[in-house]
């Protein structure tokens, strides 16, 4: 049950902490780095609320141990807004009522941004498949799809603080 020193790079900033080997990346981001935008839902990789981007790949942060992410560039939902200015995808979520309770929203935002960065020409069919990765119990997904469609032009133009 020993804590081991750990250095994580999240949204361009270095966080020095110490956690047990068994602590997940999701819990470490929230509890040790105080970045509580990343949500923890099911804790076994089903719901996607904890989705973050690690070295450019969209992953479930509950399915990685924090020590496995040492040396990686991690991006969380906090990287999206610039001060008071929301990311175009966040604006589109509001515009299209793609949020109700909001619990799943950070995971969806990072899921969509990661998918677009990997494949800017993603097809409608593949987009729907990507969106099926995460659970939303409120919206029925239709408004999330609308939000992505309306924002897709601006998704890559602005991006997030990728490697700041």
């Amino acid at each position: 049950m020993d804590n081991h020193p750990l250095e994580l790079t999240i949204n361009g900033k270095t966080y020095k902490t110490a956690v047990e080997h068994r602590k997940t990346l999701a819990d470490t981001i929230r509890e040790n780095c105080d970045l509580t935008g990343t949500h923890v839902g099911c804790e076994h990789g089903v719901c996607g609320a904890c989705t973050v981007i690690v070295d450019g790949k969209t992953v479930r942060s509950c399915l990685m141990f924090a020590h496995q992410a040492e040396g990686c560039k991690i991006r969380t939902v906090e990287s999206l807004a610039r001060g008071d200015e929301l990311h175009p995808l966040q604006e589109a979520f509001i515009e299209n009522h793609a949020i109700q309770c909001g619990f799943c929203t950070p995971g969806f935002l990072m899921l969509i941004i990661g998918a677009y960065e990997n494949d800017p020409d993603i097809t409608e069919e593949n987009l729907i498949e990507v969106l099926s990765s995460n659970l939303c119990r409120c919206t029925g997904y239709q408004n999330i799809i609308k939000a992505v469609r309306s924002a897709s032009g601006g998704l890559l133009a602005i991006g997030s603080d990728a490697d700041a």
Partner: protein, 290 residues
């Protein structure tokens, strides 16, 4: 929902990794690559290895290359690497990119690995079905060196393989497919991304309008993915039409020893096995290019 305590090792070379596994394997130490099955099992306390050997930093295990007649898939090659058609692998590359979308969901596929799926040996694993149907050869590495094992000698039942605790599955080799090989994959489950209730992969060469060299496998039906020799024999030399497919479906139902679980009876799975084989054959027949 938190894993039991363990010690994480992050070796930088394969030599260090097999040395660690030689030391900790017998006491329950495990390899972790993608961790997309192992980590949730640890969270649910179904698995509680005292040591994990993380092989992600071992550069040479990440290779995906075409060799002389085979595709070599290293231990840390992710499912997502097959999202786009791997052109160098020809027909096999198309087959893999048509199957990969059935594996879990997009973020899981970014980390989960092909070899990890084989080592995990879930009866519903798409890659186990692909490996069993096409005849994969696997490389197991330990401090004693390498040994090569055929997939049928490796898969040993549900979540069970013949891997020794001190061994790492370092490479899987899949035979390349001929240009005229037709293939079809069909999976049935209650929701996209869920574990398959039943699935089939078929591949055959079309020569003079007849089926030759049929490879027919089912997964999710029995405790491990398996080629069905009786079904292949029923199709050999036949014209690919609805009559041949119906006969293949009947031969499948007669051949399989279907699993039972609290939500799905053996009878249901047995019936399903014929349906998935027939549908995979129909897909192989109608698809001109995948």
């Amino acid at each position: 929902m938190k894993a039991a305590p363990f010690t994480l090792h992050k070796p930088g070379t394969l030599e260090e990794a097999v040395a660690l596994l030689a030391e900790y394997g017998e006491d329950g130490g495990l390899v972790i690559a993608g961790g997309q099955s192992l980590t949730p099992m640890m969270a649910l306390r179904v698995a509680y290895p005292p040591h994990l050997v993380d092989i992600n930093a071992i550069e040479k295990l990440s290779q995906l290359t075409v060799g002389d007649g085979f595709l070599s898939i290293g231990a840390t090659v992710r499912h997502a690497q097959f999202h786009r058609h791997f052109v160098e692998a020809g027909t096999l590359g198309r087959l893999l990119s048509s199957v990969v979308h059935h594996i879990a969901h997009y973020p899981i596929r970014q980390r989960g690995t092909f070899c990890g799926s084989l080592a995990h040996a879930d009866p519903s694993s798409e890659w186990c079905l692909v490996a069993a149907t096409l005849g994969a050869e696997l490389r197991l590495t330990s401090t004693s060196g390498d040994r090569l094992v055929q997939i049928n000698d490796f898969l040993d039942g549900a979540m069970s393989t013949t891997r020794e605790p001190s061994e790492i599955l370092t490479e899987a080799r899949l035979p390349l497919l001929a240009e005229n090989t037709r293939f079809g994959f069909y999976e049935f489950n209650r929701r996209a991304g869920d574990f398959a209730l039943g699935m089939a992969l078929v591949a055959y060469d079309l020569e003079g309008g007849k089926i030759r060299n049929a490879r027919i496998g089912v997964g999710g039906i029995e405790e491990k993915a398996r080629r069905l020799a009786a079904v292949e024999a029923a199709l050999e030399g036949k014209t690919p039409d609805s009559e041949a497919f119906a006969a293949a479906a009947a031969a499948t139902v007669a051949d399989v020893d279907a699993m039972e679980d609290p939500t799905t009876s053996a009878q249901y799975r047995r019936d399903l096995s014929g349906v998935v084989v027939r549908r995979a054959l129909e897909i192989a027949q109608t698809a001109t290019r995948f």
